[in-house]
Amino acid sequence: MNGALAAISEWMLPLVVGLILTLGAVRRVPIYQTFVQGARGGFSTSVRLIPHLVAMMVAVSVFRASGAMDGLVHLLDPVLVWLHVPAEVAPMGILRPITGQGSLAFMIDIFQKHGPDSHLGLLASTMQASSDTTLYILTVYFGSVGIYRFRYALAVGLLSDLVSVLASVFAVWLVSGMIQV
């Protein structure tokens, strides 16, 4: 079961690409030409994102390098611990929506200290996998089409991130409870 799922995650990309190409060929689509036509826009889309990501990455890296990120973690940690998030992984809940690289590094640190199969390791994995970097998503998605008025999107993103953190704790508790029974 476990091996099969791990294998699926390795097979997924080649299978999906193969499926799309085969389907195209069966339906008599000139697949090579169609691919090239579609991919042509990829460069301009990426280049359009550069100013937006430069702006946001500068601010985020200043925020991290100055120690302000650590300060925020210190400030918000007690809240997450109060909400029954284990103290060892609580910082990850705060890192996750702001910096994907930061929370990934934190997860690897947990793997090294406690092992990926420990309760904390599984929790960190779940927190990393069940949510995305809200700040990055907002910057990139809105940036790509030139939207500057986000309305309530940030509030919704951050609040649902909090729910995801608590849901991760719940999910790991549920699954490890079932294994013990």
Partner: protein, 197 residues
């Protein structure tokens, strides 16, 4: 609002550095951050080109329309302002499928394609439409069936059960996505009320 987030991140960083004495690191981080931003975009070119190309084939082969038809009951309820046969709907569903299956960095390129199509339906080009906010909510919560990156890292760190995250992630991201959709609805209703007052 974006002005405020940007300024707050930057100034709180510089303010902290005054106290912690990490000004040299911050000075470094400004340029490093700019470089990282460009590197991230350059790194995206491959994935974006690949998925835009594959998406074009899938569209021409009728696979996107099929997906849109299969998931129409959910999609129509989630995105009532998007006509069911509009290209935006196909791109939205492709983005959601990519999130679900964890297909190699496909979610962002397909999400950007969806944004491009949604922008064509947007009456105010600098302001997020309702459908865009919903798409963002669904993506930040990112419902996931197979978290490929995390599974790969767990293997790398010699996990005996690398795929043990599948069940927990599905439960957590399902709850998170439901919460995101509910919050999105709530905030949308609030913003409507504010507009009519």
């Amino acid at each position: 609002m974006i002005d405020l987030i940007w300024l707050a991140l930057f100034l709180s960083g510089v303010g902290t550095a005054m106290v912690t004495g990490r000004m040299p690191m911050v000075s470094n981080a400004i340029l490093k951050g700019a470089e990282n931003g460009v590197e991230l975009c350059i790194g995206l070119i491959g994935a974006i080109s690949l998925w835009m190309g594959l998406m074009h084939i899938a569209e021409r082969a009728g696979a996107v329309a099929w997906l849109a038809r299969a998931l129409q009951p959910i999609a129509r309820r989630l995105f009532p302002s998007v006509p069911p046969d509009h290209p935006a709907m196909g791109a939205i569903l492709a983005n959601m499928s990519a999130n679900l299956l964890g297909i190699g960095n496909a979610a962002t390129p397909l999400g950007l394609k969806a944004m491009e199509e949604l922008q064509k339906l947007n009456p105010h080009p600098d302001r997020a439409s309702d459908a865009m906010c919903t798409l963002l909510a669904v993506n930040t919560a990112s419902i996931t069936l197979i978290p490929t990156t995390v599974i790969a890292l767990r293997m790398q760190y010699h996990s005996a059960h690398p795929a043990a995250v599948v069940v927990t992630t599905l439960v957590a991201s399902l709850i998170g996505t439901c919460a995101a959709i509910a919050l999105d609805r709530m905030f949308r209703a609030l913003s409507r009320r504010r507009q009519t007052l």
